[in-house]
Symmetry: C2
Subunit: 165 residues, 2 copies
């Protein structure tokens, strides 16, 4: 019993360390702490942009994924974090008609908290650039401007991709 | 202490139930059991195909994700499962130059087991079609034929997308 308990404690410590280890060395963006562990978040959608030749995956924390899968996205619930991971769109050498991720561009995030971020439409907007994850510090308004076409969709472009039940 | 133990047991039961609940109702493909829980797997890459107008995300189980992130992919280790989730490429209405997932096409998987699947190049090949996840039963050779251009890459098209450490 004590051994089992010890194993469980180590397991939880493992989760905590795995989730937050990368928090320590990366500076905040717009005052928002880096969301450690995002690389293990589940997929909500993908996208392809021809205007800037990028491929993207849209990930979510547990709150966001649960909201996406239950259709609870306008508005998204407080606590939801959406992450968009962006790569340059690059020819796949083994299949002529396919493109795949090339250079890593940035990872950007929307943090839903309708009270804390009331002045920025209920979302905290943050971005970390390049493989070194340098914080973007040009102000949330840069993000908001681009998302204005979807202000009636709680400022989110992404429709959760259809998935089997 | 007893309460903590009870909470932990419930937590583990939750993991098990969450992971395998959707196994029960979906038939095997090529004799391979449906890999329940794949919707929560982490992302390894994305891709875009112009020949059949699809967008894809490539997911992996823990063994595959660890292999991808440590560069241990030629060969992939036994136990790795790669999943490719495929949607029709569809115009995003709120951004002219972007496409996003439309209809769900299928989810297909490669299961690495160099002994069990020795005759099919170390991989078990399976696919489940449509939102109802109807098993594909036309034979693994259909999959293998298409993957032949990458037989020197352990039969895998995907290069893990670059990610921050």
């Amino acid at each position: 019993m004590k051994i089992l308990y010890g194993i469980l404690v180590l397991f939880f410590l493992g989760i905590v360390i795995n989730g937050y280890a990368d928090n320590n060395s990366i500076a905040p963006s717009h005052g928002i702490v880096y969301p450690g562990g995002w690389k293990n978040w589940a997929t909500i959608a993908v996208s392809h942009r021809n205007d800037n030749n990028t491929l993207r995956v849209i990930l979510g924390n547990d709150v966001a994924v649960n909201a996406a899968r239950s259709g609870n996205t306008n508005p998204w619930p407080d606590g939801a974090i959406l992450g968009k991971v962006v790569w340059k769109d690059t020819q796949l050498k083994d299949w002529d008609e396919a493109t795949v991720p090339g250079d890593f561009v940035h990872a950007e995030f929307m943090f839903k908290n309708s009270e804390k971020y009331f002045e920025t439409y209920g979302w905290g907007w943050a971005r970390w650039i390049g493989l070194k994850q340098k914080p973007f510090e040009k102000g949330m308004q840069v993000c908001i401007d681009c998302h204005t076409p979807v202000k009636n969709r709680d400022w989110v472009f992404t429709d959760p991709a259809l998935l089997p039940k």
